[in-house]
Symmetry: C2
Subunit: 411 residues, 2 copies
């Protein structure tokens, strides 16, 4: 069954802020049996908005709008729905009471112009907003539904989870789409294509290959009349691909390498310490983005100068002999981090982010060292160097994957 | 003059990846005199794409498409334009030659299906692609233009800068829109509103106030018939607002606090060192995202444990007496970082990112310490704690702003 999304807001159209609500909805609708056919961004102009909304409503069973539920004259979602349905708005006494209570709880009176947020039309019911003042609308006419959601992402997510998704689960019957994204690093697109083999010709599940800045993604899409059927189609293909690409997979769906490394470390009671130069703290930052990382992360040193490397335990003669950007120094950094902070595993990263070369090594050159009770190892990487942050990001992902490989091998 | 944007790709519609190209174009078009009226996301379905494109082309002088220029059957942008213009595609010998050369340079033959990328129609010319194989199209019929751009952001940016923007500058005459975004932190929306004063009633330039996760933004929009006129209207208002909000401004447009701190440090020959716990490396990572940061950043310690704090020079008795999350320890961390790494300025950050409280302090509590030749200082912050990464981000921004205030005061 088809769905459309309409996001409104002149700030979105000016490119001032990124519209993340549409992709949130787009990624959550397929699992409920709704396929997004079009997503449109419009300004706060009532006439144009109404025209776009009317077209969507006429041809699509479910239309989702985001934004335009605030109290100002620029917030035109309610007016647009009323115009499309040719109905008059009225103040709903129950919504008004809830609204006044919400403001009272904040220790203030409801500003008069907020009364718009208590509006309804005969064909709409209000959807409670747990995190803000603007209720959403579930409006339905001629068997087609318009669901009006607030613009602030936090309010939209809450309303989706508590109000919209449960209603859709009851309402939508038909085909359910499940997807699984398998993210690999270190293999070219052509090789992935070859390794994936004949499954690429299958229609359901469909398997697509996508090149991304952080590697090659395989996306499996399965359709069924029920969740169980779709899931039954998806599972064997997913298992097959997981098996084929094992060593190069760094994440499934939203899973990140730092999460999988963290889970392995915690599970086995191991600890980790880092010393990094060219990644400038991004490695430690990434590791500590995982809730509970204090259980296994001992700490890190951002040794942006050679003096700090030496003061932190890297032998000065190694730097003199091989240069700070070398496999020897990467390994020594890993070993020093491990030793100094009393951790089971140490990671060392040294390299050149650019724009200039360093010690005669071109931007994008990165050495990754690992130290553990069993010894040391290192690898040399050469990343495309057109973007400083991307070089850092790739170095961090590669380092975490290298550690994960060791943790998996040790099991 | 109006413009529309159409982004294509089933992955975008599935919410798998975020469409950043539309907001890139949307933020760059107004300065060239084009106002975006609508941005639409469609799948790879030729029929639906053609329908949306035809409507845009008929009513809008400039339509931009992104994506759909690859070599596969799913890449339908060229076909859609040909259908809308009712023209036949042919292989352009010159484009084909360029394409073959591009593949030869990569040490490979052109795969046969890439020949699509050498297609043209009589009403289109090719736009060279410096970073990929797919040329863009500048297609024009009945005085309305369709500009087809590649989907990979890097290729799109390059083509925009070198091919599209210069052509638009020659072509578009009319009203020019300039915007300036002034980003503040530490003031509530109501206070910003009050401080901004009567300028908020002005129509041109228009000043809007927006609440964002990283503070309150003021956006100034000025329109003129020429760039000079718009700029002349914008400048005095911008200066006025800069003066009014001085101490709370952390960035103008895309400018970041790490860039402005870095520029001040470099200008004055000062150096910086950090010791951070709850931000877990994000402070050092943010500082080193600035190209040239090795000129002033000595390094950082991510002291995720109390042992590492003590080993790095924070007195153990301070932690015992006041707790690791305290202003005393934040100041001691700043001082120890400064001393250990021989820097002019030290920043220390300690706090609770959550989800659990620490030492009886609730998530979102952060202490920021600063140390310099003139002494030490600290501040306590209480950030909303619903998101771990956001607490880290706010702590980092607040710390950099605090340092900037000192650097500005010292001038």
């Amino acid at each position: 069954m088809y769905a459309e999304i309409i996001a409104s807001g002149t700030e979105l159209l000016m490119g001032e802020i990124q519209d993340t609500n549409s992709s949130f909805l787009a990624s959550h609708l397929p699992a409920l049996g709704l396929e997004v056919r079009q997503a449109t961004l419009v300004g706060d102009d009532l006439e144009h908005y109404t025209e776009v909304l009317e077209r969507a409503w006429k041809r699509t069973p479910f239309t989702f709008t985001t934004g335009g539920l605030g109290p100002t004259v620029d917030d035109v979602s309610r007016e647009a729905i009323a115009k499309v349905f040719q109905e008059e708005v009225h103040v709903d006494t129950q919504l008004l009471e809830t609204l006044k209570t919400r403001f009272r709880e904040r220790g203030t009176d409801m500003p008069p112009h907020n009364i718009k947020q208590a509006w309804l039309i005969p064909s709409a019911v209000g959807l409670p907003n747990r995190s803000g003042t603007a209720p959403g609308w579930w409006a339905e006419k001629n068997g087609h539904v318009i669901i009006a959601l607030p613009g602030p992402p936090r309010e939209l997510y809450d309303m989706w989870e508590h109000e919209v998704a449960p209603r859709l689960r009851e309402r939508v019957h038909g085909s359910v789409v499940l997807t699984r994204t398998i993210k690999t690093l270190g293999l070219g697109e052509a090789l992935v294509d070859e390794m994936a083999g004949p499954i690429l010709k299958s229609k359901n599940p469909y398997v697509g290959i996508y090149a991304r800045p952080d590697g090659i993604y395989l996306r499996v899409i399965a359709r069924g009349t029920t969740r169980e059927e779709a899931s039954g189609l998806l599972r064997p293909v997913e298992e097959d691909l997981r098996h084929t690409f094992q060593a190069n997979i760094w994440g499934i769906d939203d899973e990140t390498p730092e999460e999988s490394v963290g889970a392995l470390l915690r599970q086995r009671g191991f600890t980790l310490a880092t010393m990094e130069s060219c990644t400038g703290g991004m490695l430690a930052d990434t590791i500590t983005n995982v809730s509970g990382s204090s259980h296994y992360f001992k700490g890190g040193i951002v040794s942006y100068t050679n003096e700090l490397k030496v003061a932190s335990g890297v032998p000065a003669e190694l730097i003199e002999r091989h240069g700070a950007v070398s496999s020897q120094v990467a390994e020594a950094m890993a070993a020093a981090a491990r030793l100094r902070m009393g951790a089971d595993f140490g990671i060392g990263i040294t390299g050149v982010t650019g724009p200039d070369e360093l010690e005669g090594k071109p931007p994008g050159t990165v050495f990754i060292g690992l130290a553990h009770a069993g010894g040391r190892e290192s690898s040399q990487q050469r990343f495309p160097a057109n973007n400083r942050t991307l070089v850092k990001r790739r170095a961090v992902t590669t380092a975490l994957l290298a550690l994960r490989r060791i943790l998996n091998a040790a099991s």
